[in-house]
């Protein structure tokens, strides 16, 4: 039952006529509802004393166009469609009249749960589910009231449908009502629709950004051009933490089209008429680098250090009972070590950022997941106020976490270049710059010792994770790091459903600081913990002599959402029925970002070459607002995670990254894409995310299938040529 929302008490919305002749719906979030982060708007004493100026979320123009402003960034996840669906549902809008824009950077567009303007954590849909529906419902109420006045009837007699208010034989379009509606007071309360009345929510809906992405007119950051805009490429140190000693730009200056060469904090920028001239200029540049403290960084040696650390007591991330004592009493024990490499996000669109600085402030055009942080970083560099920094968010050519940088690296650098060169510039990263540029998924090593009872069920679990903290030094540190333990380093382990059922368990964490910039990479800590936990459970099932699905069912008997996903995937995959000749099945189920995903992979191994033929995926994310984009996100996550599992790694030797481009930092290609089937668990449980939760299960589903096919347990990613060299 949706209780009416009391508008006057919550003061979260108001209607304002900003566009001549149209209706603009604007609102603010009540402070009391926010989960404030350091750096976010400070809550005034007493909560709601003074709210900031509202910002627009919706405009209705007299031509019936309805423009929805997105507080989040479209990076492929289809939020450009899903958020408008929420508004259109409550508004009874004509879907064909919906237009979408990214909102500017402003505190009013802050994430409803995180308090910063950010797109991440697979959180957009659930965090906006109420806000965007409320905007739609409020707007509808205003339009109905405007029609009621015009017709001299009670608002309750008016129906709305497909962009029209209707009463008897009278009919007015929203565009015709917009101007009058803008002059009305916001209603005292609004009531949201009951789920059984939804016409749009829950229906597979095609992307609104499809047409422009098919005909080449969609504008990404890379595509920004206007008169006077120059292109810059930056020569950066070959080792993280390095710096410029000196540089010689004499050859660079000879390149036709090169305008200027300037030193910036991150390196030396070559500014030219176009990318080709700038790149050639950079190729001709001679820089003497101070390599700094990481000149000897070596990922093999670092892994050895991690291994030594794993043999020692770490900080306690989770503990119950006495696992050491219980291990001594166990009927059987297994011990295993798992490791995963550093990974680059490598979105298809290399990083870029256009900056214009003038007397009024600064304008920035880029594809970013974190406008608020970028805005603050730019303001700090230029010594101006954040509100003087205008950010134009354009389509992101993939994000995967790389475009949400807590130190705003690619935006700050572009501002530095524009400032140093006193020019309007767009920085463009080459693919090599991207692969070498850091902010990787951190390398992790996990070690576990698990004791089983006589029936093969786990009774003791000692687990140690070793890897860099992602949250350290970010705005999220205060609530993600407790007693030195970064929750994202052990998420999926410390809070594992499996461990909850084991009376004696202890999870240790070491967070070394080897100087590699690290960042959240699609599914964050779950990108390794899912692999580790689902592999370990598979190992246990084997030792116990039990079927991997049946074994998980026993362990997860208190966890209905895990079970629902697991059972649906197993059923649809035909688990327990014979598979085709040469094909083996593997299973994994993992909870992340509030959603529960199970996958069954069908895999063959021929002369050491792994082929994934089919992946059956089931998800319980609560309500699926747009099942079409949910399917697409599962396909996407499986491709993304499978490419990493099969091929991808960033390694270091003599301080330098050994990979440079897609030939040696390999990702999934068409010929490796399995047939993916997605099934959605019908669910009215709490909503979770969909952008990331499909990633964690794919690696273990595949490696568990490899074990079923070959008896070889893959404990190190990527799989690479481990099976050919065995």
């Amino acid at each position: 039952m949706n209780a009416p929302l009391n508008i006057s008490r919550r003061k979260f919305m108001q209607a304002t006529a900003v566009v001549a002749g149209g209706l603009v719906i604007a609102f603010t979030i009540p402070y009391a509802k926010r989960f404030l982060l350091p750096g976010a708007e400070k809550s005034p004493a007493g909560g709601e004393a003074k709210l900031p100026a509202p910002n627009a979320f919706l405009r209705i123009d007299t031509d019936n166009t309805i423009t929805v402003l997105l507080a989040h960034s479209e990076m492929g996840q289809s939020i450009w469609t899903t958020l408008p669906m929420l508004i259109a549902e409550e508004l009874d809008a004509d879907w064909s009249k919906i237009k979408v824009e990214h909102a500017p950077a402003a505190p009013q567009y802050a994430h409803t749960a995180y308090g910063l303007q950010i797109t991440g954590g697979s959180s957009t849909t659930w965090s906006e589910f109420d806000r965007y529906r409320q905007v739609g419902a409020l707007t509808r109420a205003l339009l109905v009231n405007a029609a009621a006045r015009q017709w001299g009837v009670a608002p309750s007699t008016i129906k709305t449908e497909n962009g029209y208010a209707l009463s008897g034989d009278k009919k007015l379009s929203y565009g015709e009502l917009a101007e009058a509606a803008a002059k009305l007071e916001a209603p005292k309360s609004i009531t949201l629709k009951e789920p059984q009345d939804w016409k749009i929510i829950g229906k597979a809906t095609k992307r609104l950004d499809g047409p422009e992405k098919i005909n080449g007119t969609a504008i990404f950051g890379q595509d920004i051009h206007f008169d006077g805009l120059l292109t810059a490429v930056v020569a950066r140190p070959p080792v993280f933490g390095g710096s410029v000693k000196s540089f010689d730009a004499s050859a660079t200056q000879q390149i036709k089209g090169v305008h200027n060469v300037v030193q910036v904090p991150s390196g030396v920028a070559v500014i030219a008429d176009n990318y080709w001239a700038a790149k050639q200029g950079r190729d001709a540049l001679k820089v003497d680098w101070e390599l700094g403290p990481n000149a000897k960084l070596d990922s093999q040696a670092l892994l050895e250090e991690f291994r030594k650390l794993a043999a020692t007591e770490g900080l306690t991330a989770a503990k119950a009972g006495d696992s050491k004592a219980a291990l001594t009493k166990a009927a059987k024990t297994i011990e295993a070590e798992y490791s995963v490499p550093y990974l680059a996000h490598s979105p298809m669109e290399p990083l870029n950022c256009a900056v214009r600085i003038d007397k009024d402030g600064c304008e920035i055009w880029t594809g970013t997941q974190m406008q608020g942080t970028d805005q603050q970083a730019a303001a700090k560099i230029l010594g101006i106020k954040p509100e003087q920094v205008k950010i134009h968010t354009v389509f992101l050519g993939g994000g995967f976490g790389r475009r949400a940088n807590p130190v705003a690296d690619f935006v700050a650098e572009a501002v530095q270049v524009a400032k140093a060169a006193d020019a309007t510039v767009k920085t463009v990263w080459s693919r090599e710059d991207d692969v070498h540029g850091g902010y990787y998924r951190p390398m992790y090593l996990h070690k576990a010792k698990i004791g089983l009872d006589a029936s093969g069920m786990p009774v003791a679990w000692e687990h140690t994770a070793v890897g860099q903290s992602i949250m350290l030094g970010t705005p999220f540190e205060a609530f993600q790091i407790k007693n030195g333990v970064d929750a994202t380093s052990v998420e999926g382990v410390a809070d594992s459903a499996y461990l909850k059922g084991i009376a004696n368990h202890h999870v240790h964490l070491h967070s070394p600081k080897p100087g590699v910039p690290v960042l959240w990479w699609r599914s964050v800590g779950h990108s390794h913990s899912g692999f580790v936990m689902e592999s370990l459970v598979d190992e246990l099932a084997h030792v116990a002599g039990k079927d991997p699905v049946e074994y998980r069912r026993i362990l997860l008997k208190e966890h209905p959402r895990h079970l629902a996903a697991l059972n649906l995937a197993a059923e649809k995959a035909g688990w327990g029925t014979p598979s085709a000749a040469g094909i083996a099945r593997g299973v994994a189920v993992h909870e992340s970002f509030g959603s529960y995903v199970a996958q069954v992979a069908e895999v063959s191994v021929d002369k050491g070459t792994v082929k994934v033929h089919r992946v059956v995926c089931a998800i319980d994310c609560g309500l699926a607002v747009n099942p079409e984009s949910l399917n697409a996100q599962m396909e996407s996550a499986i491709a993304f995670g499978l490419g990493a599992a099969l091929h991808s790694q960033i390694s270091f030797k003599d301080g330098k990254v050994q990979q440079s481009n897609f030939h040696d930092y390999q990702v999934l290609r068409m010929n490796e894409m399995p047939k993916v089937e997605v099934y959605i668990v019908p669910s009215t449980e709490k909503m979770g995310g969909v952008g990331e939760p499909g990633v964690p299960p794919i690696a273990p589903a595949v490696t568990n299938a490899i074990f079923a096919a070959t008896g070889k347990r893959i404990r190190t990613l990527p799989i690479g040529n481990q099976l050919t060299s065995a």
Binding site: R207, G210, T231, N274, G398, R669, N671
Partner: protein, 152 residues
């Protein structure tokens, strides 16, 4: 000045002869539908047609295009096959972030121009040079089959 035929128009571009077609299109002619992804013919985001053949414009200098026809995503709807491919892309709702899709569509159109009924294996061979980090491969495959059916 280099004279090029871009999308049926004769254009005089002030660009050095060794400039890759990609940058001449994007930075000189301001046709930004063709994308930069890797710069070394590894990802296919820059795929355009040169006299109807799919090429990687990031490694092909404009000197190689003199006297030939360059066709980009902006013009492909004028081609019957290109139009069918775009329609299939729309029907299957292929795109996600969309950045690689110009290149995917150009590669798929070139494939269907010479192979009216490609098998999955044909598609793998023709399309494995085009990376999509969003992993839209399954839908690309379906859309190519759909376009082939439409054209049959």
């Amino acid at each position: 000045m280099v004279t090029l035929n871009i999308n049926g128009k004769i254009e005089q571009l002030d660009a050095p002869e060794d400039m890759p077609i990609l940058w001449a299109l994007r930075d000189v002619a301001h046709l930004t539908g063709t994308k930069f992804g890797c710069g070394i013919a590894q990802c296919g985001a820059c795929t355009v047609h040169l006299d109807g053949q799919a090429i990687r414009s990031c490694v092909t200098p404009i000197s190689a295009a003199v006297g030939k026809r360059i066709t980009t995503i902006e013009h492909i709807s004028n081609d019957k096959v290109g139009q069918a491919v775009q329609a299939a892309w729309s029907e299957i709702d292929v795109v996600q972030c969309g950045y690689c899709q110009s290149g995917q569509i150009m590669a798929a159109t070139a494939l269907l121009a010479i192979n009216k009924k490609p098998t999955d294996t044909d598609i793998d061979t023709a399309m494995s040079g085009n990376i999509c980090r969003c992993g839209t491969y399954q839908r690309i495959r379906a859309a190519i089959h759909e376009a082939a059916n439409k054209l049959a």
